[in-house]
Subunit: 503 residues, 2 copies
C-alpha cells in the first residue's frame, strides 16, 4: 500500500514543479529582460559575431518552408563547436530560456518557430565532415553539413549517402526530423542509416547515443569509427532521431554509407487506374526487385508537370521508377518490372540509362512542387504527408481525390508509393480565409482517413506544430503519456523547442 | 536561480523514494510472504493451471542457455492474453513484486534469472499468429510464436521472416533482446524489422509503440495492419526493442516480411589469412553484391567442425557465403564474389545450388557450437559477442587468438563478418575455478580491446547480467545516467526484470 501511495505522489510533485517552471519560461516581458541580461555571457562563449539580435536574422530563423507563420526567436546564436553549444545550453538552462535548434530551415511542419521566444541555435558554422572511413562504410558530420555537400565530398570515394528528402537539408536536421524521401524504399530512412549521434541535452550535458564515439583508434589516434551493429543498453540513438529538437541538440551524426551503384536506369510508366499502379508496385516489391525509387503521380500532378516542364506524358496515374545495380542485374530488374506493369495495363513504358535522358525523365517528379505552385500563380503550397499500408493506398487515394473535388481544392498527388506514403500538394491562397479553413478541414479528414486504415498522419515530415492533436488520436492517450514522461525526464523545464510534437 | 535550485532538487526527491521502494522489493522473506498473499489473485486472473510454484518449473524458468547460474523466480504465471498480462502486472505493481518476462529461455546473457525473486511471466500460452497481410508484407504475432513456427506458417504465402539468431527463439523475445544473426548483413536485425509493439508497462498499462495498432480496418473489421513508415512522435518501438524486459513486457510484435528468394546459392572459400578473408568481405560489400550471409570461421573452428561433422575443409580462415535472388542475378553475385576472393588469395571456392548440397556446405557453420563443445567433452560453452568496425576486424581477431593461446584457453572463433561481429566460443570446465577466472579476465580484455577500437561489448547478445559494468565503460557515465533516468521514468519501482542491463 505504501508503495502505491508514493508512486501516485511523486509524479504530482514533479509535475507541479514543471508547471511553475513553464509559467516562468513563457512570460514574455520577463523573458526578454532575461535575454538582455545573458547576452554578454552568450558573446563570451561564441564571440560578438556569434550572437545576433538583427530583426532580419531573427525573422529568417523563425520559419521553415511550411505555411506556418514566422515566430522569430529573441536572439540567434552561432556556436562553432559542441563545447560552445553546451556552454550556451547551460546558460539557457540556468535562466529557463527556450532553445530552438536550426539547421537549414527546410522543414515542412513549422519545427523551427520560436513559439515561446527564446534562443535559436543556428548550427551552420559547424560544417566539418569528420572521420570518413571508406572501409567501414561510415562518416561523421557536423550539423552544418548538408546532404549534397556530403555527397560531393564523397564523390571520389566510390561511396554515397542515399537518403534524399528533396531539399538540400542539413544531415543533423534530417536526423532530428527522421527525414526519408524517394530512396527510402531501398535504402531506408534516416532511422536505418544513423549509427551514432552526439547530442547536447537541455542542461548542456554532452552524450553520445551509441558508444562514447570520438574514441581515438590506437592505430590512427586522430580518427574514430563505429561498429555497424550494437546491442548495448537502451537505444538512445532512435529516441533522438525524429524528436524534432524537443529532447536535445544534435551536434554530430555518424552515417552509414553505400557503394555508388555501377549503373542506374530510370523508367516512367502510365496506368489506367491508381489500383493498377499500386498493384504493379506491390508485385515489383514482392518479386524481389531491389527497386531504388518508385514514385506515384496522379493525373492532376502529371498534367501540372506537363504544363510546367513542357512534357507530354499521358494524363493518367503514372509511376516513375529508378533501378540501381550492375549493368546485368539492371537489365533483369527492368525487364521484370516492365512485364509486371504490362500485366497491370501499364503502357508507354519508357526507360533510360544515360544521365541526360534519365534526368529529363525524372524532371517531372523533381519539379512537382513548382509545377503544383504554377497551377495558381501567387499561391502557397502545403504538403500533406499521410502513410498507409500498401493495400489501402488505392482506396485512400481515390477517396481523397473525391474529397478534393467535392471541396473545390487544388491538391495534385505525388507519393513514395513503395512505402505507402503520399503527399497532396495543396495549392492555396493564403489571403483567402475560407479556402484556408477548407484546406485545414480537408487535411484533418485525410489524416483521420489514414488513421482509420491503420496508417499514420505523418510518414516523413514529422509532427511539428500542426499535427500535435492528430498525434494524440494516432497514438492514444497512454502512449502519449509515455512520450510526455520521456520529455519531462530529459527536459524537465520544457526548454527544448517547446510547443512542438507534444501539446 | 529559483529554477536552478528546483531542477537540482526534484531528481533527489524521486530517487530517495525509488531507493526506499527498491529496499522493500528486495527483502527476501517479506517478498515470499507477499507472493503467498497474492497467489489467489493470480489464480483468479489466469486460472489454477496458470500459476505454478513447482520447483522444477521455477528452476526451468530461472535460467537461459548461458553459463549464468539458475536464479528461479518465486512463482511462474502463464497468462493467455494481454489483458491477463496487464491484470497480473497490476497485482505485482501494487505489491512491489519483480516481473521477469520469459519467452523460450534461449537467451545467452542470463536475461531471465530472477535476481530479486518475484514473478516469471511465461508467455508460451500466447502463441497465435495474427493479422497476416501478404500485400502489406507484415504480420503480427503473440510472444509464444517462435521464428521457425512463423516461417512454417508463412510457407505457402511466398513470404518469410529472415532474422535468424540460430536458436528457435520467440519473436517477441527476439524483439526484447534485439536479436540478429547470420542474415543481418542483408536483412538487418530485429530493430530494422519491427513495425509495432504492444507492450504492458510495469503498472499494467497497455500501449502500442507505433500507432494504436489493432485498429479495425473498415473494409475488414477483424483485421489490422501497419504502415511501413511513420514519423509520428518519439520512437517508442526502438526504446523497447533491446530493453531486455527491463522496461515492459512485449505482448505483440508486428514484423516486416520479405519475398522468399527465387533461388539461393551457398559457397565456402578458404583463405591464407584473416586479413584476406576480411578484405574479401569488405570488397564484396563495396561491390554492391547483396550478400545474404557472410560468415567467418577461424582455423581452430574449422578444425573442430571437420572433426565433429567428418568434413575435410582446409584448416585455414574460411568464409561461408549465401546469396539470395533470381537465378540470373545469383550467377552474377557468385561470379563477382569468387573473383574477389581469388584476388585475395582465396582458394577451394565451392558453391552449391541444390538444397541438399547447400545444407551439407553450411552444416559446419550450423554445428559450430556443438563442434566447439566436442573439443572438450563434459565442458560448457560461453560465447563472447564483441563487434568492431570492419577495418579493425583482422587486428582484433589476430590479437584475440594470441591472447587465447597465451592463456591456454579454448575459444574457436565464428563471426558475422559482414557486420564486424564475432564470437569466441569459449569451452570451459565449470568446475575449474582457475579456468573460469582466466575466461572471465579474457572476455573482459576482449571487450576492452573492442571498445578501444570503437567497437561494442555486445553486437547482438545484449547486456543481461554479465556486461553491465562494460556497458558503463562503453557508453560513459552521462549516457548511462540518461538510460537510468528512462528506466526510472517507465519503471519507478524497478520491478521490470531488476538487475539486468543497468547496475
Amino acid at each position: 500500500m505504501w508503495c502505491g501511495v508514493s508512486a501516485a505522489l511523486w509524479p504530482v510533485r514533479c509535475r507541479s514543479f514543471l508547471l511553475q517552471c513553464r509559467n516562468i519560461c513563457s512570460g514574455n516581458v520577463g523573458r526578454k529582460s532575461v535575454v538582455d541580461g545573458v547576452l554578454p555571457s552568450f558573446r563570451s562563449v561564441c564571440g560578438e559575431d556569434g550572437v545576433s539580435l538583427s530583426e532580419a536574422i531573427r525573422e529568417q530563423h523563425g520559419k521553415d518552408e511550411s505555411v506556418h507563420k514566422c515566430c522569430p526567436p529573441d536572439v540567434v546564436v552561432f556556436p562553432r563547436s559542441v563545447d560552445e553549444v553546451s556552454a550556451l545550453a547551460k546558460i539557457c538552462h540556468m535562466h529557463c530560456l527556450p532553445i530552438i535548434p536550426f539547421g537549414t530551415g527546410t522543414g515542412l511542419e513549422g519545427g523551427v518557430g520560436a513559439m515561446k521566444g527564446g534562443v535559436c541555435f543556428s548550427l551552420r558554422n559547424m560544417d566539418q565532415v569528420l572521420d570518413l572511413h571508406v572501409e567501414d562504410f561510415d562518416v561523421t558530420v557536423e550539423p552544418g553539413v548538408t546532404r549534397k555537400a556530403l555527397n560531393s565530398y564523397l564523390r571520389d570515394t566510390g561511396l554515397w549517402f542515399p537518403v534524399d528528402p528533396g531539399a538540400d537539408a542539413s544531415l543533423c536536421g534530417m536526423a532530428a526530423t527522421s527525414a526519408s524521401g524517394t530512396n527510402a524504399v531501398r535504402y531506408g530512412t534516416m532511422r536505418e542509416n544513423i549509427m551514432n549521434l552526439e547530442v547536447v541535452l537541455a542542461d548542456g550535458t554532452i552524450i553520445n547515443t551509441a558508444g562514447k564515439g570520438r574514441r581515438p583508434r590506437y592505430d590512427w589516434p586522430d580518427e574514430t569509427s563505429q561498429s555497424r551493429k550494437e546491442n548495448a543498453g537502451y537505444n538512445l540513438t532512435n529516441l533522438f532521431v525524429g524528436s524534432e529538437g524537443t529532447l536535445g541538440i544534435i551536434t554530430k551524426t555518424t552515417l552509414r554509407l553505400y557503394g555508388i551503384p555501377e549503373a542506374v536506369v530510370s523508367a516512367v510508366c502510365s496506368f489506367p487506374s491508381v489500383q493498377a499502379a499500386v498493384d504493379s508496385t506491390v508485385q515489383i516489391l514482392q518479386s524481389g526487385v531491389p527497386i531504388a525509387r518508385i514514385e506515384f503521380l496522379d493525373d492532376v500532378m502529371i498534367d501540372a508537370c506537363n504544363r510546367f516542364s513542357s512534357l507530354s506524358y499521358p494524363v493518367t496515374p503514372t509511376l516513375f521508377l529508378e533501378f540501381h545495380g550492375s549493368e546485368r542485374s539492371l537489365e533483369e530488374q527492368v525487364n521484370t518490372s516492365e512485364e509486371i506493369t504490362q500485366c497491370n495495363g501499364g503502357s508507354d513504358f519508357q526507360w533510360a540509362k544515360d544521365e541526360e535522358t534519365r534526368s529529363r525523365l525524372w524532371k517531372a517528379r523533381h519539379d512537382a512542387w513548382y509545377a503544383a505552385l504554377a497551377l495558381r500563380p501567387g499561391c502557397k503550397a502545403y504538403a500533406t504527408d499521410v502513410c498507409v499500408p500498401l493495400s489501402m493506398l488505392p482506396q485512400i487515394i481515390v477517396e481523397t481525390k473525391e474529397d478534393l473535388i467535392a471541396n473545390k481544392l487544388t491538391g495534385p498527388i505525388a507519393g513514395h508509393v513503395g512505402d505507402g506514403n503520399f503527399h497532396c500538394l495543396m495549392v492555396l491562397d493564403p489571403n483567402d480565409p475560407d479556402e484556408l479553413q477548407r484546406v485545414h478541414l480537408f487535411t484533418e479528414r485525410l489524416a483521420r482517413r489514414a488513421l482509420a486504415m491503420s496508417g499514420t498522419c505523418t510518414g516523413e515530415h514529422g509532427v511539428g506544430l500542426g499535427k500535435r492533436a492528430l498525434l494524440v488520436e494516432e497514438m492514444g492517450a497512454q502512449a502519449i503519456q509515455v512520450m510526455q514522461s520521456l520529455k519531462e525526464t530529459l527536459d524537465p523545464k520544457n526548454l527544448m523547442n517547446p510547443g512542438k510534437v507534444l501539446q
